[in-house]
C-alpha cells in the first residue's frame, strides 16, 4: 500500500475512519486481507475515496454489513474496503406517496423500524436484517420468503444514486413509482455486486403494513406430495405471500426455535405458507390451504410464530453449525422438488449430509452441504456441487456457489455461465469501469 494514498485518505475522511493493520480482521475475505478499510461519512467523501483509489489504481471493495462479502470469486488484488455504514440517513419518507429515499448504509432492520412507526414497510425480507445494509442487499439482489408475492429489489427500487468508478455522482430512475425516462439504471446496479458503481442512496416503493399476517406449516410424508400441494396452491385463488418448501433437516432448524419443535419430526417435507391482509382474509386462506393440502397428504397444520420469518430466510445455512458449502439455484417452479430430491440423493451417495429449502413458487432453491470428516481433498465436494449445477442447468436453470472454501471455489466456478450475454456484460463493465477499480475479478465472466 502506498503510504501516500493512506495519508490522502486520512486527510479526506479523518484518521479515525481509516482502519489498517490488525483492525482489518473483520474484513478478511477468502484469506485475503485488504490494505485498508475506510468509512466515509458523506456522499462527497465516497466520491473522494474512489477518486483517490482510482488515481492510485488500487481496487475498491464496497462493503455494507459484510453479510455477502464472501459471495463471489476471490479478489484478484487486495484493495481498499469502502464501508458505507456511516451513510445511513433517512432522506425522505412521505407516507402518502408510499416511497422512501434513504442512504445505502442503513440496515434493513433500522429501515423497517423507521417505516413501521408510520404504518409502512419495505416488502423485502432478506436474511440477516440486523446486519445487512440496504446497499448491500441491492448489490447482492438478496431477498427472502415474501418475494413470492412482493418480488425482489427489481420490483421495488425506483431510484438510485451511485458513485461510479470515475468518481462521478450519478442518479438513475427517480422518486416516483412510475417512470420510463431514460434507461433503467436501477436495474443495472441491482445484483451487480459493486462492480459498476457504489450505491450511496436509494428510493424504494413501500407498502402499508398488513393488518394481519400468519405463517402455517404442514407436514408431508414425501417431498413429491408437498410439491403437488404447492401446485394446487399456485393454481388456486389464494394469494400467499410466501411458499416455502423445506426438507426435514432445514425444517428441524426452523422448528428448533418454535415452542414444541414439532417440525423436526417430519419424515418427508414441510411446507410453510404465509398469508397477509385483513384478519378474515388470513383466516379464510389458512382454512383453504388445509383443505387444498389434505388430498396430497398434508397434515398437522401448525401456525408458526412471527419469529419464524427471519429463520426461514436462513434455514438452510443454519441447519448445520458450519456448512462446508452453500449453493443456490434458480429453476422453473415445476422443477423445485425434483432438484431437491435428486440433489440430496447425489450427496447422500457420496456420504454428505445436506439441507434443502426453496421459495417454491418462484423456483429459488438453496442447499447446504456438510462433510462429517475434515476434508483434506476438495474433490468429492466439488463433484457433488458440479452435479448439482448440471441438474439445474439441464432444466434451463443455473446455480451460484454462495459459500465454499477457497479450494472448492478454485475448482467449481462461483457463477454460472451467462452465455453470449456475458460478452455484453463485459462491454458494460469496460464502459463504466475501464480501469477495473471496482471489485475486479469478483463477478461473472471475469468481471
Amino acid at each position: 500500500m502506498q503510504d501516500a494514498l493512506l495519508e490522502r485518505l486520512r486527510a479526506v475522511i479523518g484518521p479515525a475512519n481509516v482502519l489498517t493493520g490488525v483492525e482489518l480482521s473483520p474484513y478478511v475475505v477468502d484469506g485475503r486481507t485488504p490494505e485498508a478499510a475506510v468509512f466515509p461519512g458523506a456522499l462527497e467523501e465516497v466520491a473522494a475515496v474512489i477518486a483517490l483509489c482510482g488515481q492510485a489504481e488500487v481496487p475498491v471493495v464496497p462493503w455494507g454489513g459484510g453479510t455477502a462479502a464472501s459471495v463471489g470469486m476471490p479478489a484478484a488484488r487486495a484493495g481498499v474496503v469502502l464501508g458505507l455504514r456511516r451513510l445511513a440517513r433517512l432522506v425522505e419518507h412521505e407516507p402518502g406517496d408510499l416511497t422512501v429515499t434513504v442512504e445505502s448504509g442503513v440496515t434493513i432492520a433500522e429501515l423497517q423500524a423507521a417505516l413501521g412507526n408510520r404504518g409502512q414497510w419495505l416488502s423485502l425480507d432478506p436474511a440477516d436484517a440486523e446486519r445487512a445494509t440496504l446497499g448491500g442487499v441491492l448489490a447482492a439482489n438478496a431477498a427472502g420468503p415474501r418475494r413470492h408475492l412482493y418480488g425482489t429489489a427489481r420490483d421495488l427500487l425506483i431510484g438510485v444514486t451511485v458513485v461510479t468508478a470515475d468518481a462521478a455522482v450519478v442518479k438513475g430512475g427517480g422518486k416516483v413509482v412510475k417512470n420510463v425516462a431514460g434507461y433503467d439504471l436501477p436495474k443495472l446496479f441491482i445484483g451487480s455486486y459493486g462492480t459498476l458503481g457504489v450505491i450511496v442512496e436509494a428510493t424504494l416503493k413501500l407498502r402499508p403494513v398488513p393488518e394481519a399476517e400468519r405463517l402455517v406449516a404442514l407436514r408431508f410424508a414425501r417431498l413429491k406430495d408437498a410439491a403437488a400441494a404447492v401446485r394446487a396452491l399456485l393454481a388456486s385463488d389464494l394469494i400467499p405471500n410466501a411458499v416455502e418448501l423445506l426438507d426435514p433437516t432445514a425444517a428441524a432448524a426452523l422448528g428448533a426455535g418454535e415452542a414444541g419443535g414439532a417440525l423436526g419430526l417430519a419424515a418427508g417435507a414441510v411446507l410453510v405458507v404465509g398469508f397477509d391482509g385483513l384478519p378474515e382474509q388470513v383466516e379464510w386462506q389458512c382454512a383453504e390451504l388445509a383443505r387444498l393440502a389434505a388430498p396430497h397428504g398434508g397434515r398437522d397444520a401448525t401456525p408458526l410464530s412471527s419469529a419464524a420469518w427471519p429463520r426461514l430466510a436462513a434455514a438452510v445455512r443454519d441447519a448445520f453449525p458450519v456448512a462446508t458449502a452453500v449453493m443456490s439455484f434458480d429453476v422453473v417452479p415445476a422443477q423445485v422438488a425434483e432438484l431437491m430430491e435428486q440433489g440430496a440423493g447425489v450427496a447422500r451417495a457420496r456420504g454428505f449430509q445436506t439441507a434443502w429449502a426453496a421459495h417454491a413458487g418462484v423456483g429459488v432453491v438453496s442447499a447446504a452441504l456438510v462433510s462429517d470428516r475434515e476434508p483434506r481433498e476438495p474433490g468429492p465436494v466439488c463433484g457433488v456441487l458440479s452435479e448439482w449445477r448440471e441438474m439445474a442447468r439441464a432444466g434451463g436453470g443455473h446455480a451460484t456457489l454462495e459459500r465454499a472454501p477457497l479450494a472448492v471455489k478454485s475448482q467449481v466456478p462461483v457463477w454460472d455461465d451467462p452465455g453470449a450475454a456475458g460478452r455484453v456484460m463485459q462491454r458494460i463493465k469496460a464502459q463504466l469501469d475501464p480501469k477495473r477499480i471496482l471489485n475486479p475479478g469478483r463477478f461473472v465472466a471475469g468481471i
Partner: protein, 491 residues
C-alpha cells in the same frame, strides 16, 4: 433523409427480398408513407425500406445488412407509440415485427408464456383467460399495441398501481443485438447469472437491439373485482381522495381520474353513466379475494366521502363495470369529438403533489389560450393532460408544444418525471436535462455504447440533440461539481 441512389436502392431491395421473401419488403414512397409516423403525428420521417421478417434469423440478417451498408434501422410494432420512438429518423430501414406474432408456448404450471414481439397485448390475455389467467400490463392501446412495443417503452396501464409495469412481468428476451448476434437476456427463471440485462433492455426504446422472443409472466385472474365511481364537485377534492385512499393502507388495483372536459366528451361519445356536471370523477378498482372485499370497498367509499365526494357508487354487475371502464379507456378517442386535434402529454409526479400540479397544468394551458382534458392514472401520479387544438389555426401546434414543455418542467420541479409510460423517443429527448445531469446522461450513453456501439440501432432517440447537453466521455472528478450537482439535485 434517404440518400440512396435508385440503382443502389434496387440492389438493396433484392438483397432484402432474398432474406425475407419477395412479399416482405416495401420501398414504394406511397407505401412507405404509412410508416412515416407513430401515434404522435407531430414528427414524420420516411424510411428507404420497410421489411417484414418472420424469424430471428431474418431480423439478424437484415440488421447485419444494415450494418454493412451503414444504414440506420428501427424496429416497429403496431405504431401506437406516442413519443415518435419508432420513427426512421434518418431514412434507412423500418423493421416491422408484425409478422412475428405467434404465441410459442404457454406454460401454466410455471405461469409463463413465450411469445413473439408482434403479438398484440390483448391477444395474450385472450389466449390464457379460458384457464383463468391474464397478462397484467394493460395500456389503453392494448387492443392494438404489440408486446415488442411494450418492451421498448416499458408500457404501463391503469392496473400498474398494484401489479407493476411491463418490466415487472418480463423474465427473458431473445434479442438480435445491433451487430446481428442473437443473444438471450434473462430466461425462464426469476434470475440468470450476471447483470439484469433483461431489466436494462426493457424500456430502452429500441436502442439496444430488437427482441425476437419474449418470456412473460401470466397471472391468475383475481377471485373478485369491485369498481367504485366517486364523483366530485371540485378537482382538488378528487386529488386529495387519492392520497386519502393510500393513507388508509389500501392498495387498489387502479385509481383513475377524469376531469369535466373528459367526462363530457366521453358522455357525448359513449354515454357511460358519468355525471356530466361533475368537476372530476375517480374510478377505483379493487381486486383480490372475495372474503374481505366488501369491507375494503367500504373503506374506499368512506375515504372518498371524507374527501368531499358528492356521490359514490359501486358497479352492481360486470356490465356496469365494463361500461365505466369503456368510458375511461375510450377517453382519448372521445376527445376527437370535441376538438379537431389533441396532443396527449405524459408526466409523473409524487401523488401527494396532485392538487398543486393539476392547478398548474390548467393555468399553463389556459395561458396559451388552449383547452385541456385530464384523464390519467392518479393512483401512481401519472398525468395525461390532453391539450386540444385546431391544427388549421396558424401557430396552434407550436403553442401546444410550448405548453407541454412547461408542464414537463412543473413535473420535474416537484420531483417527478417527464415520462411515466410513453417514453422519451424524439418528443422529449431535449427535456432529458430537466431531470438528469450531464453525468447521469453520460452513464446512459456508455450503457448504450455497450449494446449499440455504431449507433445505427434507432438513432436520434432518448438523448438530447443539443451537443452541449451531453458529455459522452468519462466525467472528470471535481469535488465542487459533485457538491453543486450531486447534492443540490439530490432527490
Amino acid at each position: 433523409m434517404a440518400t440512396l441512389t435508385s440503382g443502389r436502392k434496387t440492389a438493396l431491395r433484392r438483397e432484402l427480398e432474398a432474406i425475407v421473401g419477395p412479399g416482405g419488403v416495401l420501398s414504394d414512397p406511397d407505401e412507405l408513407l404509412v410508416y412515416e409516423s407513430d401515434g404522435l403525428t407531430l414528427f414524420r420521417a420516411l424510411a428507404d425500406f420497410v421489411v417484414f421478417p418472420t424469424s430471428a434469423e431474418h431480423v439478424a440478417a437484415v440488421v447485419r445488412l444494415a450494418g454493412r451498408e451503414g444504414l440506420p434501422f428501427v424496429a416497429r410494432g403496431a405504431g401506437t407509440g406516442l413519443s415518435g420512438g419508432c420513427l426512421p429518423a434518418e431514412g434507412g430501414l423500418v423493421i416491422s415485427m408484425m409478422r412475428m406474432n405467434r404465441i410459442l408456448e404457454i406454460d401454466y404450471e410455471n405461469q409463463l408464456a413465450v411469445v413473439e414481439p408482434g403479438l398484440v397485448n390483448l391477444h395474450l390475455s385472450w389466449a390464457v383467460v379460458p384457464k383463468g389467467y391474464y397478462y397484467a400490463p394493460d395500456p389503453s392501446s392494448q387492443q392494438a399495441c404489440t408486446l415488442g412495443g411494450n418492451i421498448a417503452n416499458n408500457s404501463g396501464g391503469p392496473h400498474t398501481l398494484k401489479y407493476g409495469v411491463t418490466t415487472n412481468h418480463v423474465l427473458g428476451l431473445e434479442v438480435v443485438m445491433p451487430d446481428g448476434e442473437i443473444v438471450w437476456l434473462g430466461g425462464r427463471t426469476r434470475a440468470t447469472p450476471g447483470y439484469d440485462l433483461a431489466g436494462v433492455f426493457v424500456g430502452s426504446e429500441g436502442t439496444f437491439g430488437i427482441a425476437t422472443k419474449i418470456v412473460v409472466r401470466i397471472l391468475k385472474k383475481p377471485q373478485a373485482v369491485k369498481t367504485v365511481l366517486a364523483v366530485f364537485d371540485q378537482v382538488d377534492h378528487a386529488s386529495a381522495a387519492v392520497s386519502a385512499i393510500i393513507a388508509r393502507g389500501l392498495v387498489p388495483a387502479a385509481v383513475e381520474m377524469m376531469d369535466q372536459l373528459t367526462i363530457q366528451a366521453v358522455e357525448d361519445a359513449f354515454g357511460c353513466g358519468y355525471p356530466r356536471d361533475a368537476a372530476a370523477a375517480l374510478l377505483v378498482e379493487l381486486d383480490g379475494l372475495r372474503v374481505g372485499m366488501d369491507a375494503q370497498t367500504e373503506r374506499i367509499v368512506q375515504a372518498c366521502r371524507d374527501a368531499g365526494a358528492r356521490e359514490v357508487r359501486t358497479a352492481r354487475d360486470e356490465a356496469e363495470r365494463a361500461l365505466l371502464w369503456k368510458g375511461r379507456k375510450s377517453a382519448f378517442g372521445a376527445f376527437g369529438r370535441v376538438s379537431p386535434a389533441y396532443m396527449v402529454m405524459d408526466g409523473v409526479i409524487p401523488r401527494t403533489k396532485l392538487p398543486y400540479v393539476l392547478r398548474r397544468v390548467n393555468e399553463i394551458v389556459a395561458a396559451h389560450g388552449l383547452r385541456v382534458g385530464n384523464v390519467f392514472h392518479a393512483g401512481d401520479g401519472n398525468l395525461h393532460p390532453n391539450i386540444l387544438y385546431d391544427p388549421r389555426v396558424p401557430g396552434a401546434e407550436a403553442r401546444v408544444v410550448e405548453a407541454g414543455a412547461e408542464i414537463m418542467k412543473v413535473c420535474a420541479e416537484v420531483g417527478g418525471s417527464i415520462s411515466g409510460e410513453h417514453g422519451i423517443g424524439l418528443e422529449k429527448a431535449d427535456f432529458m436535462p430537466f431531470i438528469f445531469s450531464a453525468a447521469d446522461l453520460a452513464v446512459m450513453q456508455r450503457l448504450k455504447n455497450a449494446f449499440n456501439p455504431t449507433g445505427l440501432c434507432n438513432p436520434g432517440k432518448v438523448f438530447p440533440t443539443k451537443k452541449s447537453c451531453v458529455e459522452v466521455g468519462p466525467v472528470a472528478y471535481t469535488p465542487h461539481a459533485i457538491e453543486a450537482k450531486g447534492l443540490a439535485q439530490r432527490f
